[in-house]
Structures are given as C-alpha cells and as structure tokens.
Amino acid sequence: MNQYHPFILPFFIGFLAMLVILFVRYALWFRGFSKENRKRIAVGLFTTQTLLAIKEVGAEALLHLKIYRTNPVLGFMHMSLAFGWFLLILGGKLESWYFTGDFTNPVWYAIFLRYFEPDSTHLMYHGVFLFFMELALLMVLVGVALAFTKRLKKSILRIKNTTRHNFGNKMALYALWLIFPLRLLAESVTTAAHGGGGFLTASVGVLIPQSWAVESELYFWWAYSWSLGLFFLALPFSRYLHIPTEMVLIFLRRWKIEPASGFNPDKGLQAFEVHSCPGCGVCLDVCPAINKTEIAFQSAYFVNQVRRGNGYEQTSGMCLNCGQCDEVCPVGINLENLRHQTRSKIFNQASFNHSWMPGSMVFWRETTEVVLFTGCMGRLNPQTTLAVKNLLNEAGVSFIHMDEEESICCGRPMMLAGAAESAKKMMDRNRENILAYHSKVLVTTCPICYKIFKDEYNLEIPVLHHSEYLWQLIDEGKIVREKSALQLAYHDPCDLGRGSSCYEPPRKVIDSVGQLQTLSRQREKSLCCGNNLGSLSLSENERQNITANTLKVLTLDNPDVVVTACPMCKKTLQRQSQVKVTDLAELLWETHPSNSLKFSKKIEKSRFLAEVK
C-alpha cells in the first residue's frame, strides 16, 4: 500500500515548521514566568484542575460556547471552523487506523487519505466513515463561507477596521479560506476519477468528466497541500496563533498562574493572554464608547496593538475602564490589568510625592457605629452627603464623617493611571486614618472608593456602600418609607456594579420608595456614564457623546427621576439630562414624609424646564 507521494511535502514541511516555531516561542514565554508561577504549574499539573482544563478546552477552544451565547452567528462560525476541523482530524486518524490496522501511520496519510484510498467500498462500515467525514467537511465549509461573508460585509458597510493586516495575517487568512474548498475539490476530482465518495464529494464528482479528472487530479492535491502548508507556516506569525495559545492559556489559568506586574507582552502570562485574543469582536459591541470616539480604542484593537508593539500608547489612555469588555471577553483576558500595566509603562517617568498628606494625629478617639467616608467626589456633592447624614440621624445611628475637612484620595484614580506605587502610599495613610477611629463599619458614598477599600485595603472592619447600609436600615425598620407611584430608572455605576458586584441593595432601596423600571442595558450590561476616572485622555466632546447615549437608554421609558449611587455618575448625567438625576440617598431623604411635597414640586419643576428647553 503506497502511503507517500511528493505532493504531501508542502503540508508536511509547513506543519513541522509550525511545531518548531511554536515550541520556541512558547519556551521563551515560559522562561518569563516567575519562580512562584513555575511552582504553581508543577503543583497544578497533577491535580483535577488539569482534567477540568481539558474539558474547558473542549467547550471553549473547540465549541466556543461563550461566544455562541453572546453572539450565536459569530459563535456558530467559530464553532463550525474549529470543531469541524477537529472532527476532520480526529475522523481522518480513526479512518486511517481502521484502514491500515496501524495507529502509527504517517501524519500526511490520514490527512490525504482519500487520495491514497479513493475507493473504500470493500470495507465494512465504510459508509459510516464517509458520511461522518463529509458532514464535518460541510460544517467547516459553512464556517468558511460565514467568515468570508463577514469580511465582505465589513468592507461593503465600510466598517472602520483599524486592525491592519500584516503579511503573516494575510497569508494565513487567504490560505485558510482556500484549504477547505480545495479539499472538497481534490476529493471530488478523485471521486470522479476512481469512484467512491460520500454524499458531498460524489455529488460534486458527478459534474466532473472522468478523463479530465484522472489527468488533473494531482494538481488539486498539490494545491490543497500547499494551502495547508502555507497556513501552518504563517500561523505562528498571524492572529491565528490564538488557536493553540488559547488552549495553553486555559491550562495556565486552571493552574492559578498569577499575573506579574509590569508591561511584558513577550513574557509569561501576559504573552499568553495577549496572543490568545482571536479578535472575535465581542468586546466591540458592548463598549459604551463604540463609534463615539475619533479613534477606536476598544480591547480588540488594543490587544492587537500591544501584540504588534505599537499604537497602544494612545489607545490605552482613552479607555474608561468600565469593565464591560472584561465581563464579556470569551477568552477571559484580564484586560483591566493589561491596561494598567500598559499605562504604568507609558507614564513610568511620572513621579509623585505625597509627603504633604495629613496624618492621623487624633487626641480624642470617639467610639462610634459608623465612619462615613464621602471621598473626593463627595466634596462636589454636598447634597448627597447631607442626605446620608440626615438618614443616619433619622435611623438613630451614631457616625463620624471622617473627611468632612480636606481629605486624601482613596488611591484608585492613581492606580487606574498605572502608578501603583504612589497609590499604595496614599492607601497606607488612609488606612491609618480610618483605623484611628473605633467604629464597627466603614460606609462610603463613592463606588470608586468602595471598590478599592474592599479589594485592596485589607481593613479590619467591614466596608459598605451607602446603598447597602441604607438598605440594612430599611430592612431593620429604622427607616420607613411608603412606596409611591414614582417611575424610577436606576443607573448602575461601573465600579459598584461590574466592579464590586453590588446590584441588589441599591435596587431594593429604590424599590422601597417607588417603581423601579427595567432598562434595556442594566446590571452587568449597564453603560458607563461617560466620565469614569479610568479614562485619561478622552476629549470632553467624546465623553459627552457617551453620556448622551447612556441617558438615552436611561430615559427611554420616561422615568420621573434617574437614580444613581455614585457622585461622579450623578454629576456627569446631571449636566446633560432633561430628567432629574439624583443619588439614591437623596431620593430616600426627599421621600421622607416631611419632604415629599417639596420633592414632587422639584420633579415638576425639572419637567417644566425640560419642556421649555
């Protein structure tokens, strides 16, 4: 039985080259792992985590279930390409094993089996194999057709595609488009020449005259082999590198590898993450700033720029850090961290000195129930602070407002700018100041502070956002309100919702005083107000575009009041809103029986003003 023909050489050489290049690249990245991380790999390797990772590879790298869930058409495209191809490889191997009775037959033999064994009618169950293989081929072909139309549609619709294709990408892309149609042709021509074939190749084969088929058969197999070889050769230099890398990343994540600090897209975990992004674009549709800025900076572009090594300087500073893309990225790339590390590189020359920060010299320490921290943005929202204080008094809770006078920033904005060191100093000083009071709980009105207090401060007392604390008071019956007919739309602040998974308490507070509306984008999917401190360089105009869009979503059902739980969101939305925007603490205070008349007048007034406008 002949198992060799020179036409397999382009495929085989390309395939070998890919393996060698991949091995070298991965080895270099692996060398970038810290000692602790290497230890984690060694330990994790022999735990059930490895088995779980294998399962995940099946679900995500082959079936692409996560993409499928967010975007079925896109998911189907990825699934039919990846899973179909996998079935072809697996089926080919099984079939060739069945044919020869020898599992260790050469790689190319299985790939080009139909050329070597055109007629399999003498074998039992050959029809089953044929049907199975051609079904898989059909699946891949549908995937290719979808990918092709996607690209075509993009160029017809003139969608700005800033992902410039370099040579490797182009070669891999064109080769990939050709591989499966060529396989179909080659197999069909062989079927026309020698008979056999399944439902797909036989029906195409009928159209081809036999004499011509016998003559030209080999050309098609050569072409198929070349397309495969070129694809494999280009793969490590193209975005298709994501296919193998994504699988490795799944294992690394299961083994609990920790990200290293610093910007190193060619070392360690960051290298694997950056090269795992297939550019699926799921992060594009959800970004609140999509099509609202002059330059597109979304994660799909950003990660690609980091991989290329240029262009990211500008885009990394624009992102709002709203966390929407982190939430949906099917590969689970830690995009926020990547941005912070990029910024730390860009601004590594920036130096700060906060030796002026006031300390915690307190001569008289009161013991109190609550330490209230309103943060920098709280200073610009005295109304909210006053409302919280009134509510605490109403409930009879003792409290100390620790930053009534000048205060230190919580450090999160500094961290978002990539200056982790300076942020740490500010945090240390703040921690001292907070712990200088003897209190049971720290309550903050600012989600930005809340997130960093909870995630980074390691305080000995619980930290609560004021929505959580107020709900607790309502629940305990210390604050009592009557539910009114007010229509209320709630805006989830990024750092409170996606950032700290606090969705319910604010809703419960709002629901206890009025009718909470359901919005088209809420909870995990809520839009950023447009002024997240994460963005450093978005222009005022661009921010306003984002705010306008967010307001459109919030006010679609004509709410009486737009309620939020963040002083920054409140100020930002307020500037552009026709509807009254307020913090939930203010809402709760203003619906107090003694204020409610005034409150309804206020709403009427803002409605009137909106109409006049």
């Binding site: 700060f352 000048e406 002024n531 450093l536 360089s537």
Partner: protein
C-alpha cells in the same frame, strides 16, 4: 532671586525670547493633551484641589508655566497631585487635567 520684604516680593525680571523655539517636551505635552489650549484660567481647578490646600499646586498656574517653559516649577508642583479628578469635574472648559498632570510630571529636564 526675589527677596522677601514686608510680606510682598519682587518678581524676577524676565523676558520672553521669541527667537527660541518651544522645547520639544512642551510641544509634546500640548500635542498629547490639546485641551490645555482651551483653559481660560478661571481657577476652578485650584479652588477644588485638596493637594493645593496643603501645597503650592495650582493647576491653572501649571498650565501657564508650561507655556512659558518653566519646567522646574512644573515638576515641583505637579508631583503633589493625587489625580483625584475633582478639578476636572469643575472645569468649565473640559480640560483633561489628570492626563495633563501625568504628562507634566513625566517631563524630565
């Protein structure tokens, strides 16, 4: 050096030499944060600033320093900023103050 007398001081005599080109570093900052050119010097940013309560930091002044090329003064004052963003929220002209300060504190002599 300006000498202090009776609570006021004489400023140094300075001249602006229009023959000297704007240093690249300064051009660079203005290029990367063009909104600096929109500042009207209203002073809101300084009124809000906590760091300015304890130190010399006044953002509108940093902006003037920048245009005059007073690199040392910029570095000395900009490093006190906490990047908290209060200034930016009160700025009537939408100047990206936090970005500007990051760029300014990155200037090396």
């Amino acid at each position: 050096m300006a000498g202090t007398k009776f609570g006021f001081f004489d400023a140094n005599v300075r001249s602006i030499n229009l023959d000297v080109e704007t240093p690249e570093t300064i051009e660079g900052v203005l290029h990367r944060e063009p909104s600096l050119l929109k500042c009207i010097g209203c002073g809101n940013c300084a009124a809000m600033c906590t760091a300015g309560h304890f130190t010399d930091l006044r953002f509108y002044r940093l902006n003037l320093y920048l245009k005059r090329g007073l690199v040392n003064e910029i570095r000395k004052e900009a490093q006190n900023c906490m990047l908290c963003g209060k200034c930016q929220l009160t700025c009537p002209r939408g100047v990206n103050i936090r970005h500007a300060i990051l760029l300014m504190s990155s200037i090396r002599p």
